[in-house]
């Protein structure tokens, strides 16, 4: 294709994109002469250029459209119908341009249909205006023809092309000089400021700069080895210049996100017509820039989401009226920079996600069991829309709902290292937030070593680095075959890079120390264990060879400063390898949330064996740490097993007589700590950590065992930790927390779950309190009625019949116990429930599994009582 033609096509396409947007604006604001002038000028320019290039089809179309717009300019109303026809004309022009670009000539075909439509509109609008101006609502006299009929006559009359040409010639003859002058003026103004460069040129420039960066890195590496090199100063300068050049070239690749949004007003307008909805589209931050490559990759997902919002999200005007919302729906697209990312949000004020339908579909597709989904919070359920093949629209419309739904969007966004999140409030609206890196070509990466090989981990997904050492603050702990890191009270799943890559010479090697690269992918956080960490480097991402692209662990490779090629780790691939596909990850998250939010229903349990083959379990949250100590370090003192642990003697308690403290090898221990004191339960083997409902079905007479429950399909003894704590701590507690002579505080414990009553009673007794436990608020009130005196009440919130709030209100309402502090125990710690609790008269609010928190709260409340 010759340069002139190419330039024409590019220029015309750009102009048409602008016309698209402007026309939609004009339709909404028909009195804005400025917009119209702008459209008119653009169309006119297109027409003029087409004539000059000898492109008759384009010219005829542009001319007909221009005529209609000329009428608009003469003050005639821009009806929806008229704008639709003009938009259709523009689409046709685009089609012709496309094949022009491909075949270098106009395609065959006729546009009489569109031109006829345009003519019709031009005439009709004229006629309508005349009707209004000259013949206002007059009854037809006999023999007269109605305007409608006249119009039909116009419509049916074949268009006469020669006449058209004549009209055109006349028109251009007059209008051209003015328009030309305007155009030249524009060129003079902008010509010095911007030039058109092909993308290829920029891409090539980028490649060259990448090479330069590599060479500079190599030089720096060499100079690093020779301390007093005279190259140092010039190299420093070269380095700075390279950095600036890199930045400059990157800047040329940056484009405003508005470029991807350009077609959106038109899309929304067309959807409005198609769906019979009224939608207002608001675009914010269109000037926010990001890399062209990234822009291309998110264009389609964004379009898809916009269509979804218009089609499924927003209701019809009638539905909106019924729901008490304004008829016109609202979609807002916004973009802004945040760190090295761009955040794009698309929000509508529609009906939100249909949680019930997502639930049904998730269960139907076997993504999750019915029992599990019932316990999931809404936000978790909503995330299922990202699962593969998930589309909730029951009817397939031609707008969206083709089965390639949000999963495709998510995949696209994952591929560029982005993350997507959804928030939906039923009846109020739905919003998606996308966070993507600004550029992909040159990224900062952490260079690490594993099994003697170096790898790069993109800095964007690295949260922090943790050094794990045997006996240090952060230690790698093992749960059967899984390794985890306890980091700020969270268990972080770990994966050894060498094992993931199959380069571990000794697969069974004990993992005790190493560097942990804490990595985040979406909402999933995990640790990658490596042997050492070198430094961060700006690396130029080069695609993997097609022969190696199937390896999901790598996203590409790069040449380091010393000339070596290394692989770039793909955190998405690692996340998958760690064993969490989108759905299973969600279930895990849901399970965690469940524990936090509805503790009674599912609990993290540590399953182990001690003294018998039957598994035993204890709530994980009660355990401070899992240890494996060298059995030779166990000492016998005063008839008790002890071990030196973190500078103190820690008593070891055997779970039962059948558990023998080992004489040699590793002894697994469950460590329980309270303040500075620790005790350990000696067990035979730690089996697993599971999430399950804790429902004790058979209570036990055996001391130390609360009863049996079915956990993961197996009958499991639930261990009463409270029974063992005093065996180690008894005397200590008495001495420290309850000095002789001091009164023992009386605690009233209310919980409908016997498990919690059984678990907490000994814990509180061990802490020096006299505990009276009851199973309902009524019983508790009855006790108070009887005149029993308590120093503090601890109550569960969710209870049948009378809940914790009502109990607190009842206590507050009774003048007899104005001083009685009430502490709420709850699995639901939300700002809302705390506020409600305050109103009901709770003195404190403690999470259900927070044993230490409860004791601290008790001490505080009883101290207050003492002071008062």
């Amino acid at each position: 294709m010759d340069d002139l033609l190419r330039e024409f096509v590019t220029e015309t396409n750009e102009s048409l994109d602008v016309v698209d947007v402007e026309l939609v604006r004009f339709e909404q604001d028909p009195n804005n002469a400025k917009i119209l002038d702008n459209i008119f000028r653009l169309v006119h320019t297109i027409k003029g250029t087409c004539g000059f290039r000898g492109l008759p089809r384009l010219e005829a179309l542009a001319h007909a459209a221009e005529t209609v717009m000329g009428k608009f300019r003469d003050g005639l109303p821009a009806t929806n119908d008229a704008v639709t026809v003009i938009l259709a004309t523009i689409d046709r022009i685009k089609e012709i341009l496309e094949s022009l670009e491909r075949d270098q000539r106009e395609p065959d075909g006729a546009d009489a249909d569109l031109i006829a439509d345009l003519e019709r509109i031009a005439e009709r609008t004229l006629a309508a205006a005349q009707k209004q101006a000259v013949e206002p609502a007059r009854v037809l006299r006999p023999g007269e023809v109605s305007l409608d009929e006249l119009e039909r006559a116009f419509r049916d009359t074949p268009v006469d092309p020669p006449a058209l040409k004549g009209a055109k010639a006349e028109k251009t003859g007059k209008a051209k000089p003015v328009e030309e002058a305007v155009k030249e003026d524009d060129v003079a103004k902008s010509g010095s400021q911007s030039i058109r460069v092909t993308v290829d040129t920029l891409e090539q420039l980028m490649t060259m700069v990448s090479e330069l960066v590599l060479t500079r890195n190599q030089l720096l590496e060499i100079v690093r080895r020779h301390d007093d090199s005279e190259f140092k100063t010039p190299l420093q300068r070269l380095s700075n210049v390279t950095a600036e050049l890199q930045e400059g070239v990157m800047k040329t690749r940056m484009q405003p996100i508005g470029n991807a949004w350009q077609k959106f007003p038109r899309i929304v307008r067309d959807l409005c017509n198609e769906l019979g909805k009224k939608i207002e589209l608001e675009l914010q931050g269109a000037e926010t820039e990001l890399d062209r490559q990234v822009l291309d990759l998110i264009k389609d997902p964004l379009t898809h989401m916009l269509r979804n919002s218009a089609d499924h999200g927003l209701e019809t005007p009638a539905e909106r009226r019924t729901a008490g919302k304004p008829e016109q729906g609202h979609i807002r697209l916004s973009a802004y920079h945040e760190g090295g990312h761009i955040v794009i949000r698309i929000a509508d004020d529609g009906r939100g996600l249909d949680t019930a339908r997502i639930k049904a579909k998730a269960v139907a597709q076997g993504l999750v069991s019915e029992a599990d989904i019932e316990k999931m919070p809404e936000a978790q359920i909503h995330k299922f829309i990202f699962a593969a093949g998930f589309s909730t629209a029951t009817t397939v419309t031609n707008v969206s709902g083709r089965g390639v739904g949000m999963d495709v969007v998510r995949t696209n966004i994952d591929q560029i290292g982005g993350a997507i999140d959804v928030k939906s409030i039923a009846g109020v609206g739905l919003s998606f937030t996308i966070k993507i890196p600004l550029t992909l070509a040159i990224v900062a990466a952490l260079i690490v070593e594993s099994s003697g090989e170096r790898f790069a981990i993109p800095q964007l997904s690295v949260v922090e680095l943790v050094r794990a050492r045997k006996g240090g603050d952060h230690r790698i702990e093992r749960i059967k075959d899984t390794t985890v890191l306890r980091l700020r009270d969270k268990l972080l799943p770990l994966a050894r890079l060498s094992r993931l890559l199959g380069t571990d010479a000794d697969a069974d090697r004990e993992v005790e120390s190493g560097f942990i690269v804490v990595t985040q992918v979406g909402s999933q956080t995990f640790g990658i264990v490596v042997d050492s960490v070198f430094h961060t480097e700006e690396i130029v991402v080069k695609p993997m060879s097609t022969k190696l692209r199937h390896i999901t662990m790598f996203s590409g490779n790069t040449i380091l400063g010393d000339g070596a090629v290394i692989m770039i780790i793909d955190p998405n691939g690692v996340a998958q390898a760690i064993g969490s596909t989108v759905t299973s990850q969600m279930i895990v998250e849901a399970a965690q949330d469940r524990v936090e939010e509805t503790g009674e229903e599912a609990t993290s349990l540590l399953v182990f064996r001690a003294g018998s083959t039957q598994p035993k379990a204890v709530p994980l949250s009660l355990i401070t740490r899992l240890e494996e100590i060298d059995a030779r370090k166990i000492e016998l003192s005063n008839g008790r097993h002890m071990v030196q642990y973190r500078g103190q003697l820690m008593p070891l308690i055997s779970m039962n007589a059948n558990v023998n403290v080992k004489g040699e090898g590793a002894q697994p221990l469950l460590v329980f700590s309270d303040g500075a004191r620790s005790m350990a339960l000696v067990v035979d083997e730690i089996i697993d950590i599971v999430e399950d409902r804790l429902a004790i079905q058979v209570t036990s007479e055996v001391p130390g065992v609360l009863g049996s429950a079915v956990i993961k399909g197996q009958a499991t003894e639930i261990v009463d930790v409270g029974h063992f704590l005093p065996m180690a701590f008894e005397d200590w507690f008495r001495r420290k927390d309850n000095p002789t002579g001091a009164r023992q505080y009386a605690v009233l414990l209310i919980d409908d779950s016997p498990f919690f009553r059984n678990m907490l009673t000994p814990v509180l007794q061990a802490a020096g309190y006299a505990v009276t436990a009851v199973g309902s608020a009524r019983e508790a009130l009855a006790l108070l009625e009887d005149g029993r005196a308590f120093d503090v009440a601890v109550t569960d919130i969710e209870m049948p019949e009378m809940d914790g709030f009502e109990f607190a209100e009842a206590v507050r309402a009774d003048e007899r116990y104005p001083e009685l502090p009430v502490i709420a125990l709850s699995s639901q710690i939300s700002a809302e429930s705390i506020e409600r609790g305050r109103q009901a008269g709770f003195h404190d609010y403690v999470a259900k599994f927070d044993r230490q928190g409860l004791i601290a709260a008790l001490m505080e409340q009883t101290d207050v009582g003492r002071a008062a």
Partner: protein
């Protein structure tokens, strides 16, 4: 495809030895011959991919021709050599024992593969030339690089 048949039907071949067998590669497909250095092994890669290396700023994927063809490469005292080839804009190196001279051979003398040829060799060979004292097997570079199919079959 026909441009190499300049005069008569003579084609030029770069010859290489792998595991004692002489191979010929059409010269128009050969970019360069180099000694592979600073090879980076790629974990989880198919076994015949020896690794990747940096050749003048390009990342080259090195394919062990011995493993690819089911031959045992021989240590002949000298450094291993690699023949640089390209496919779809990507650079590859074929790891061989030693490189020989460039031969001009008349395509009329190209004989079909014997039917009892090892299928792994047969799948990449376009024919055999009978030279003095030895056979030269002409290999098709595209088929050599078609590793995915081979890996799937293996």
């Amino acid at each position: 495809m026909t441009s190499e048949n300049t005069d008569r039907n003579v084609n030029e071949y770069v010859t290489a030895v792998v595991g004692g067998q002489l191979f010929g590669l059409p010269i128009r497909r050969v970019q360069d011959v180099f000694i592979p250095e600073r090879l980076t092994k790629v974990p989880l890669a198919p076994p015949e991919i020896a690794g990747v290396l940096n050749l003048r700023g390009r990342i080259v994927t090195l394919i062990d021709l011995g493993l690819r063809l089911g031959l045992v490469r021989e240590d002949n005292g000298g450094p291993a050599m690699a023949i640089g080839v390209e496919m779809h804009g990507e650079s590859y190196g074929l790891l061989i024992d030693s490189v020989g001279e460039v031969l001009k051979l008349d395509s009329a003398a190209l004989e079909r593969n014997p039917i009892n040829l090892d299928p792994r060799l047969a799948s990449v060979s376009t024919g055999i030339f009978r030279l003095d004292g030895q056979l030269l097997m002409v290999i098709d570079v595209d088929r050599i690089l078609d590793i995915s199919i081979h890996a799937a079959a293996a």
